[in-house]
Each structure stands twice: as structure tokens, then as C-alpha cells.
Symmetry: D3
Subunit: 291 residues, 6 copies
Amino acid sequence: MSRPVTCDPPRHAVVEAVARAIAEDLGPLGDISAALLPDPGEVTIADIVPRAAGVLAGSACATEAYAQLDPRVRVTWSATDGDRVAPREAVGRVEGPLAALLTGERTALNFLCHLSGVATLTRRFVDAAAAGGGHARIVDTRKTLPGLRALEKAAVRAGGGANHRGSLSDMVLVKDNHLAGLSIADAVARARSAWPGRGIEIECDRLDQVEEAVVAGAHVVMLDNMTPEAAAVCVEWVRASARPETIIEISGGVGLDTVAAYAATGADVISTSAITQSAPALDLGLDLAAE
Amino acid sequence: MSRPVTCDPPRHAVVEAVARAIAEDLGPLGDISAALLPDPGEVTIADIVPRAAGVLAGSACATEAYAQLDPRVRVTWSATDGDRVAPREAVGRVEGPLAALLTGERTALNFLCHLSGVATLTRRFVDAAAAGGGHARIVDTRKTLPGLRALEKAAVRAGGGANHRGSLSDMVLVKDNHLAGLSIADAVARARSAWPGRGIEIECDRLDQVEEAVVAGAHVVMLDNMTPEAAAVCVEWVRASARPETIIEISGGVGLDTVAAYAATGADVISTSAITQSAPALDLGLDLAAE
Amino acid sequence: MSRPVTCDPPRHAVVEAVARAIAEDLGPLGDISAALLPDPGEVTIADIVPRAAGVLAGSACATEAYAQLDPRVRVTWSATDGDRVAPREAVGRVEGPLAALLTGERTALNFLCHLSGVATLTRRFVDAAAAGGGHARIVDTRKTLPGLRALEKAAVRAGGGANHRGSLSDMVLVKDNHLAGLSIADAVARARSAWPGRGIEIECDRLDQVEEAVVAGAHVVMLDNMTPEAAAVCVEWVRASARPETIIEISGGVGLDTVAAYAATGADVISTSAITQSAPALDLGLDLAAE
Amino acid sequence: MSRPVTCDPPRHAVVEAVARAIAEDLGPLGDISAALLPDPGEVTIADIVPRAAGVLAGSACATEAYAQLDPRVRVTWSATDGDRVAPREAVGRVEGPLAALLTGERTALNFLCHLSGVATLTRRFVDAAAAGGGHARIVDTRKTLPGLRALEKAAVRAGGGANHRGSLSDMVLVKDNHLAGLSIADAVARARSAWPGRGIEIECDRLDQVEEAVVAGAHVVMLDNMTPEAAAVCVEWVRASARPETIIEISGGVGLDTVAAYAATGADVISTSAITQSAPALDLGLDLAAE
Amino acid sequence: MSRPVTCDPPRHAVVEAVARAIAEDLGPLGDISAALLPDPGEVTIADIVPRAAGVLAGSACATEAYAQLDPRVRVTWSATDGDRVAPREAVGRVEGPLAALLTGERTALNFLCHLSGVATLTRRFVDAAAAGGGHARIVDTRKTLPGLRALEKAAVRAGGGANHRGSLSDMVLVKDNHLAGLSIADAVARARSAWPGRGIEIECDRLDQVEEAVVAGAHVVMLDNMTPEAAAVCVEWVRASARPETIIEISGGVGLDTVAAYAATGADVISTSAITQSAPALDLGLDLAAE
Amino acid sequence: MSRPVTCDPPRHAVVEAVARAIAEDLGPLGDISAALLPDPGEVTIADIVPRAAGVLAGSACATEAYAQLDPRVRVTWSATDGDRVAPREAVGRVEGPLAALLTGERTALNFLCHLSGVATLTRRFVDAAAAGGGHARIVDTRKTLPGLRALEKAAVRAGGGANHRGSLSDMVLVKDNHLAGLSIADAVARARSAWPGRGIEIECDRLDQVEEAVVAGAHVVMLDNMTPEAAAVCVEWVRASARPETIIEISGGVGLDTVAAYAATGADVISTSAITQSAPALDLGLDLAAE
């Protein structure tokens, strides 16, 4: 039961994103610099090497990039998505014609650096939350970079996090703007009838809303922008209620400095947009073997 | 001569990226939460409001997102891309059916937050460089997020930066890996003949390479991973050479803390991948008008 | 609370499906028969008229088809998706150049006839279930026609049904093949941890599985291929359990002749693939106004 | 001469439709249920098994679905499109990682079930027509499901039917709406001049129109909504005319109960929209090998 | 009866081809030269002016190019596709922001110049054929430029020509390679049965093949690579046969110098690949109004 | 240094253009003529044979066309892009099922004939320029056929030419319309600042503009529509100036009859739109092996 769920992105998402990225980076003429090489077809080996410590993600994209660019290139991996990687220790190897290696370098690395950056920051949040005690999982949000959601959500899983909604079709999330003229109880009943079986989550700013949501049968209550202290009160109330299994999500104001305190409240999930929207790239490079 | 060049992204890039993002966020069923609203068609006004200071970018994407989602929604702007924005001061307004406003909120904001983040960090680099004196422009790299290059490069312009290569087809950039078995002089001659009129840039690690590149007629010399002191020596040499107008680019090791020192060398451009690859999102929100 | 949720399909799904259908039907030369018309530009009015009783769906697709084909054509509706329609009573009107009306006729009607067929059959199931008493909602499955899922699911809503999963990303559904080496309790715990907040459904063939699933906290139990009598026993057990609100889905062997008996069990939802996979078209035609 | 023409759909149509269907069914996160499997990579064998008698079609789509999803999966067939299949007798086998088998199951089966449904109903019409005597072929129409035309038309061929127009570009079909201000003779002459070599078909409601069309040199006359008796009179006239080889199509009011009577008239083709627009799915399932 | 059929290309073909062309020409940064304009938004008028005599085609593409690029630009036409145009006499006018006019100039003109080139050369063939007497129509082939077929076929119609097959799905064309092991009579019978109603054409190298094809009921006989004299013999035979209305196509070896002689044979259509595959561009330019 | 840069087009451009062309040529039903073959699967060999002398280009497209159509077909080449080819001497061979060979023939040849036509005409210009003396390279323009730019530019390289701009993003080209209210010196300074490192080219009608452009530091001066004599004066001035390495482009009025005279001026590049916009197809055919 300890095996994590797969962090692989769906293959079609990889294929499409890579095709787009290659067209974007090559332009109409291709790599006009590599075209100048005296021996473009020389079979060459290069290592994919992190420049800093972190967590690997995006390997399927790098493999696909070279596959689309030139089927003669072979990419092999000594690490897999989700592995912690160390600076200067190769995680993969690329072998093929020199021109192809250079032409695909940036596309492959742009995926690797961004997605490993997402996985690395997620892992930092996961570790920080663990330090706070409790069992809270770090989850992402829909604040992802346009066109990259499936890949970023897979990178979050690689970093030990879990995924909140993949799209607006997945779950019902009732925010204050949805509640004009509708009580929480009505909203839950309406959601349960309209979208039977979907997870139903209620955004709550105050304990009385939490109480109303739990009583109404919401599957998740989101404690929005609460202090750890206020959140702890809500958690305590829920656990003592008739529905102690209600999932409690903490959202808003979560940073690496505060996540431990939030985790210590006993909440189930802590969501943060930082891991997808503001993750710095993990620096990885392609090192050609010295001759 | 002081008017900056346009920072608008090409319209086709906006249309395509937005279409992709909407399909990604809505999923097969659309916004199942907004579907629960008692009065989804209620005409509503909402303001687009920064939560922090920064520079606006991505407004065309937000406008396009609502246009594709529901033609009844109107988006108007009180600020334009490139403007500095302040927290709690609205930069735009959205008016239309409540359900459409809520459904499009995340797609519109995902573009705005990321691209404004790029523009904001670029502006910080531009300002920091200006503080160092000299005339260096901040430029981006090809280290962009896959599928978002055209939009990110426009955001860099909005932040006061300039664009390095848009794709591998744009300019010739000769790095060490291209020079196996080829002198710099040969590489420049080859490039000049093969791609007449294209900018030719040579990556240089040492002063003697700079000298060779300038003599060969390279349009740009890239000083790669040099200290400010080493870079200053190179700049001095170029300016005193027979081709003082050669563009000098500084690359590698450039951070907000070092950019002023690099700018003080008198270099022409300073490139950094941080502004596209590692820019934190600028937080903007959609505030529905209180009734 | 009695207003139904919207049955409109997401607009991007309409735009994409229509573009595909137009390209498919026009071919490289367009409508070579309409090209022979003596006066192709003659402004003409035509009514969209059902040939049989049913429920309307797909009107947005028909409107979009003409919009993409020729912006001069105007489509107006006297009925909306979800309305019951009667034979020979027009539901909409198309006005524009004669050649455009004829060229777009088949594309517009193909959407209308299929989607109204889905809505009509759904409505028949809904009505038949209602006749059985209880409160069960009719829901669809993932057995939809490739490329048409978003539109068919909207048509199901138009017919008074609700939607089961939109994609494999939406909810966790644990079938027997997933349970090799995993107890139901373990599967629920695993799902709750891996995908916090998602609806979790367990396929059950026997009462003891239902008991195990309910105790484990599954949100939905699917009674698979049970007789109405066997299902009634399960429903009774759940309602008397500590989690009476668990959603009970009946699946398999559901037809127009049996749905009332299943509804009478007190189940919450009854799923059937027939409404999307085997719905006969509702015949609608385009009648040009006599001069 | 007895070998039928190929019933394979064009490969590009298969590739495109499958790519669309996979993206549609997997969503942004992929199969979140299969992700819970204790051993997702376990190599597994499963049989594709009809639950009812019918005619197979769509095998190329099922093969392609698994190829796009996971290249490690192998699909082999013991039957080919057009073969009659029996319940509980496997027609194909899928072998590969368990998670991939489960993830692709629905996409593969959705194609198989719909297209085999089309082929099966077509075959029923073909057999029923044959029972009536004569030589009439069953043909489809342009009343197909949007985005699936190429695949459905191939399934019609698999069922022993033939294809009417693939698109509006294929043949000239003159209906009453085209004839305002134009005689049949003029329409044929116009079509012959404008689109030389294309098949020209005239829709006829009465014998005098048939006579006019045949004399004018139409290649096909469509007897629209005639009784078998009225149609027989027209057939007799044509066969006795100077152009007895004119193809006679019967259209409208054709059902499984009437098709024999229409075939007995000696007509050449009988068209029906039921086979594409209203064909119930043929139920096929994926049965994992018991261990 | 003298009105020609429309020469407009299908709108979806225009929209798609233009979107592709704009993305291709603008690249990731857009028009970096126009970005330097001191006043890019200055409203400007420009005329579309032929530099040589010819026939206009492609106007819908030019209009669409500006519509996609910038909705503020308005394009109006004083000539329509199919009109003869004279050097230095404007055929259209573009009005809008200066930068948009310059940015879209090349995309708009690339369509206009190529398609007008096709129309112009077609018209030259049509006129030359008319000079030879007879009634032969000039038709195109499937030898078109990849991705541009629908537009080129419309341009052929604009030039007074007609269209042969739009795709391999349109008509049956039996060439020598199809006849291995099959007589012409068998091929026609097979085609008539397999694809009822489609035009059936037989490629013939000799008179005896023509005789066989006509007797078999082929709709079109193609006289392949015959001299005008040999062709005349065939025409005479057909006209005196029992099927004098059989369409006679002349193909191969047709040039502007020989087309009159071929037309004089009394053939019905003369096909040439030159008009699509080898048509020189008609030079048109965009002239900005002098201030 | 004498090895030419690669003339291969970027692989993604080949894949996309071929997919489009196959869909375009096959239509919804595929090759309805090949479907009639008695033995469509018969393994057959065919040679790709030029009918006239020229230069080969487009081989990657032909290979890809068959790969997409039917993976069982194998294409091998005895010549490569850029090779001179002679009539009746095979350049490649196709082996596979007869029906696939015939079905793909036109798509493969349409690419080969057009792109070899471009390469062949380019080579004629290159040879004619060489006959004039000097060192001028023949370059293309942005006057390419919509959707085919990457392929045509590769064909120009195959013909011995070089490429001017791939898109508007590549280089700055300042024409008279850009100079309203801006001196040449200002334009160059603006371009150098806005797009540092890009090639900057100035269109010049007169010697004084050339002088101004060279002094301002333009990388390329375009002598627009000058006679060879006027161009020679400009070349002489530039070579005697302080920036003799400035690239001199001759544009306008260049034909096969005048290119030698222009080359004799000592200019660096001579651009012509004829090679892409008006190149007649090189006739190549597919010859099936006689049995």
C-alpha cells in the first residue's frame, strides 16, 4: 500500500506538448547554427546532468522530444520521475548525431528544467509539511501555466504531492460567489443531485460555515485564508462531529515558512499555487562527452 | 526615438494559446460549479485587481479568453501591457453573465499572473541594471516555457527588456560545441555565406576568443560566465578595437544582485533565463462588485 | 432549487466539433450541387421542423454551423435545448442566401438529429423511472461516440438526465479488475489519499461488497447487473447503515422495460449506455418557405 | 470479380479520430483509477469478445488506440472487419501492462461497438434486401455522426453495403430545392458542363420526373418516398427506355420490414440513413484472462 | 444557363489556410520591422494593384488574412474573383493601422499572387482552346500544391476552367496499373457495383480501348498522350457510337501551343497540370496612398 | 569549408505538411479506384523517375508520405536532395502493396515535383550568376506559397541558394514605408536597440541612401530595382567605404537573363521571388516494374 500512484503524465499530453515545443523552437529553417557543423552526423554521447539538487520530472517529454526530432537519437535514463537528484550526477544519456543532439537540447531541457522545478518545490513543501507533523498532503490548484496543466500536475505527483481539480469538470467547488441567494445546505443538495458522485467542496471563511458544510454532507471543506490557530479550531470541530472523515483543505497564505504550522493542525490537504505558478526552474544541462 | 517598440504578442499566438487553455480548463462538461448558480445569466461587473505591485502583461490573452468563452462578456482596460500597477488598484473590468465571469476567471488570470510575473521580474532586472550605469538592455533567452514563447517574449518587452532569439531560425549562435574542428574565423565566414544577413554571435569564454570573434566580424560576442571584472576587460578591448560597435552580451551568472555590476562594464545586452523560466507569478484577482 | 443546471455544452466543444463536421461534409470543392442554383444568393427562409415528437438538443451546434459557413445566415430558435417538441411544429428558423442554407443543412441537422435523439431517449428513461417511483436520476456512462462526448453529455442533461464521469480524470471508479490483490477498504483508503476530494465509487456484485464499500467510506456504490430484487436488498441495507447518504447506482441490464422496477428500489442513480451509444436519431428537417 | 472492395477506412482518418478520442477519455490526469493498481505493469492478456452476434468493424481503430496509448501493448485479431461474429467467441486479443489495458479499454471498445453496430445493421438490411430478390445494394447517406463519417462509411462497406456521397464535393445531387426556375434537363446540362464526369443524380417524386431525368442523361434517378408499387412502375419504365442502365435509387421510408419489397422492384440501390444515424451499438467487451 | 458556377472556395478552407500562413509568416515575435514605426497605429489606406494583366483569384484569402491579423482593418474589393484585371488599376483597398497593413501585406499578397496566377494561366488555356473551336472545357488535375488544393481548384474555376477530381474519393479513374488481370468491361462493372453513381473514367491509349470503355458504359474516356489527329479519330468514333454523350477527356502533352488543336477535335474536356503546378505568380502589390 | 549546409527541411514541417496533403488527397473514402484492384496487397516495386533534367528536392516528404499512408511501404533513394538528376534515371524506389503504391503516388509526387522544381530553378539562377563572375549567392524571399515555406526554403538550399528571412521575426528589413518620419540612421539605431543582434537591412533606391545606411551600420543594404550599372556604382562605393564588409543585396528585376550582369557587379546576394513563387514543376513519375 505504500507504493505511490504513478506520476507519469498521460502520453497524449506529452506528444502534443512536445510537438508544439519543437515547432516553436525550430522555426521555419531549423537550427541554422547546427547546420554549420563540419560533421553534423557524428555520433555523439551527452549526459543530462543536474546543476543543483532537486527532484526529477519531465523525463518522458525529453525522450519524446528527441524521438520526434530524429528517430536515430536514443535517450536512456538512470533516474526516473520522482527521484531526488544531485548536482553533477547524470540522470540520463542521449546518443545520436551531433546536430540532432544540439538541435533538441533546448526543447528537451525546457521541459526537464520547468517540470523538475515544479517537482522540486513540491517536494520542499511536502518535506516541510511532514516536519510539522500530521498527515496533510500537499496539493496543487488550477493555477497552472496555460497549456501545461497535465504535465505540471504529473510533476506535482513526482514531487510527492497530489492533485486538486484537473479541470472545472472534475469536482464541484462552491465559493462565496456561488452562494449569493443559496445556502450552503442548498448548494450541497443541488450539487449532489446535479452531479451525483462528484466530490463536493465548500470554501469556508469561518467556523460556522464549516459546521454548515459538514452537516450538509460536503466531502471537502476548504479553510480559506485562516491562521493556523483558526484552522486548528475548525479541524478539532470536524473531527469531533458526526462526519469526522470530511476532508479538510487549507488554502491561502501557505508558504514554506508556514506550511508546518498548517500541517500540525491535522488538516488533510494543504493547497498551494506556488508549486505550479511560481516554481523556479531546476537547472539541468546537457554535457557532451569529452573526446 | 524614445517610444518603445510594441510589446503586443502576435495575435495568432494569443488566439491559439487561449483556445488551448480554455479547452484544458473547462473539460468535457464545462464549469460544473457555475452550473449550480441560481441565476447564471445575471449581468455582473468584476474588476481585475493586482494584489501586489508589478508590471502588467497578458491583457490581450485575458480579453481573448472571455471573447472565446462567451461573446456577451466585455473586457475593458484602464492599464496597458508595460504599465506599472499597484496593489488594490483595478487595471481592468469584466462585464457579463455571472456564470461566464466565474468560468473564465482562472483562464484569464493564469495568463495575466504568469505574464505579468515575467514582465515584473524583467522590470526589476532592467531597473537594477540601470542603477549600475551603462546602457545595457536586459534580454531573454530560449529558456522559455514550452508553448508560451511568443507570449513570454512579449511580456519581456512589456517589462522593458528585449528579445534574444525567437527560434533557432533567427540568428546564428556559435557555441563551443559547434567549434570542434572549426576556428572562430571559419565559423563566422561559414555563417556569413550560408545565412547572409543574419546576426552572428560567438560564445566566448576568454578574451582571446573575443578578439578572434571581433576580428572575424561577428555581430555579437557573448561573454559567457565571466566575472564583471573579466567582462570589463573584454568590453574595453572591443571598444578600442577596429569594430567598437560589436554588440557585447553578458550571459551566465546574472542575478538581481550582480546585474548592476555587469551593466557597469558598458556591455550592450545582459541575458538571463530567470525572467522567463523562474519568474514568480504576479498575483492578480477578479473582484466581483458588491451589490 | 427546482431550476435544472444548464444543459449547454461548453462553447469550445461546439466550435471544434462543428469546424470538423463542416470540413468533413463540404470537401475540397464545397457544395457542387448548390453551385448550380440559378440564384444562389436569393435570401431565403427555412424552418427547422421535427418530424416526430421528442426533446430538442444541439441547437448551439446548428447555430454555429451556419455561423462558420456563412456569417450572413441568421438562425433563431423558438425552442431551447431540453424542450419537448412536437412533429410539424417548427423549433427554429434559418434565414440567408439560398445556397448557404442548402449547403449547411446536413451539417446542422446531423448535430440536431443525433443530439436530440440522445435527449429524447434520455427523457424516455427519465419518465419511465419516474413512473416507478423513487427519486433515481438517469445518468450516462463513458460509452459515448468518439469525439462527441461533451455534446452527448450535454444532450443527456437536456433530456433530464445527469452525467457520470466526463473522463477517466474525474472520479475514481474501482472495478473488479482493479481489486486483484487489494481489498475494497484498501482501495478506498488508497483513492482517498491519492486523489483527495474525488468521488470514489466501488463496483459491487454482491451485498457483502456493498457493505464493505459503505463501511470503507465510498461515496458511491454501483450495484452491477443485479435484479431489482437483489438491488432492493442492498438499498435497504445502505439506508439502514451508518452512512445512509451513500449514493447508490444501478448499472447493467437497464432498459426502458426494467427501469421503473429499478427506480422503485430507492436507488439514487441509474446508469445506461443506451442513451448515448444506441439512441436513434430524432428526425428533424429543414423546410424552405413556399413562395 | 466476387471479391468485395476493401472496407478499411483511410489510415489518416483512423489516426486522427483515435487521437481525439484518447484525449477526450483520459483527461488531464489520465486514468486515476488504474493509477491505484498495486501492480500496474503486470503483463496481462485480455480477449475482445462480442456479447451478441453481429458483424465486426472498427478493428483498425482499436489497434490504433492501444498503439497511441502505450506502444508496449500488442493487439492481434482472429477476425477481420466484415466478418460475422458470434457471442462469446473472441475476435481479438490484447496483451500488455495491466494499467494500459484498462485505460485503453473504453476508447477501443467505443469504436468497436459503434462501428460494429453500423456494420451489423447494414448487414441486416443487405440480407433483408437479398431476401426480396433483385440485385439492389444497400447504400448509406450523408446522415452520419459528425466527425465519424470516414469510419462509418467504412463500416457500411464492412457490412456489405456501399457508399453514397462521401461529401458534397463528390457527386451532383439535384433536389427539388435546386430546381426552382430550372428544368431537370437544364439542371443535368448545367451539371455536366460545370462538373464534367461527376455522377449526376436527380431526386424524383413522380414518374414524369423520372422520364425527364433519364432522357436528360442523369446517371442516377432517386425515387423519393415512393411505395414499392410506385417504384416498380418507375423501374419498369427505365428498363424499357433508351437508357436502361440508368442507376435507380430508392430512398425514404426504407425499413427492415419494407426493404425486401423495395428490392423486389429491381432497383439498383436502396439508401437508408438508419444504418449510420440510428444503429444500436454491438456489445463487445474486454475479458481479462483468469489467472 | 450562361451563369457560371461559383468560383468561391469553401470558407473553411480559406480560414484554415490563412491561419497557417499567418503563423508561418509572423513567427514568434511578429513583425519586428513594423514594430519600429514611429506611429504604428496611424490609419492608412492602401490599394491592391496588379502589376500585370491577368485574372483575379484569392480575394477571400486576402480579406481573411487581414481579418485574422487585426479586426480593425477593412478590405473592400472593386473586382471579384474571375474578373480580368489590368496593370496599375486597383482591384481592392485596405484601410487600417499602418503597422497592420505592412504586417499582413505579404500573407495577403502571397495568396492573391499565386491564386491569380492559377486563374490567369487557366484563362489563357481557356481562351486558346476557344480559338480552336469546339466546346472543350479546360480542367485541372490532382497535381496541385500540397495543402492548397481547395483554393487552387477555386482559382481554376475563376479562370473559366472546371475541376477534375477533388480527391481520390470523388470519381473512379481506372489507369493501366489498375487493369492488370482485369478487362475494361470488368473494371467498369466492378466500379458500377462498388461505387454506384460515381463517375467512372477509363484511361485509354488506343482506339480499341476507347471502344471497349464506351461499350462498357464508362462515363468518361481519357485519351492519354494522343496526338490531335489520333484523338480526332477517337472522338469521331464515340460520337457515332451508341453512347455519343460519353465525355471525352484529352490528357497529356497539352500546352498553350497545342490546346487549340486538341479543342478542335470536339473533345469535351482537356486537362492540364500546368495550371496548378506550374502557374507563374501574377504580380500584385500593395500601394500605400501618398500623403 | 566547402561542404554546404544541410538542405533538409525541419522534420516537424515535413510531418505536418504530409499529414495535411494525405488527408486532402484521400478524402473520406480513400482511393476508390485502387479499391477495385483484384490483388491490392500484391507486393510491387516502382521507381521514382525524372522525366526531365533538374535538381532533386523533397525526398523526405515522399518518404514520409508513404510512411504515414502504410508502414509496410519502404522507400529508398539513390539520390539525395541537391543532386542533379537526369531524365529516365531512377532516383528512388518504392516497394510495398500495390494499392498503397498507387494511393500514395500523387501525394508523394506533388511534393517531389514542386520542390524539385524550386531546386531546379534555383540551380539555374545559381549557375547563371556564376557565369557572370563575382561571388553572389542566390537567395529567396518571403514570397512563398502559403503553408509550404519551410519546405520551399529547404528546396532553395538544395538548389544551391541561400535563405533570406524565414519569417518577419528573423531580421529587421526597413523599407520606404517604414521610413516616414524616420531617418535611416534613426531606423538603424532603433533597430539595434530594440532587437540587439538581429541582422538589419535597409532598402535603398539611390546611392545616397546606400551611403547613409552603411554609415549607420546596417548589416545589409538592398539595392532595389537598380540597373546593373547603378548597382555597380553602389557596390564600388561600399567596398571603398569604412565598412566594406556590408552585405550588398540586389533585388528586383532579376531574371535568368539579367542575373549574370548583376552578379558581375560584385554584390553578395541576389534575391528573387521567381524561384519559390513561379517555379515550374519538375516532372517526375512513378514507374511500376514490368512483370
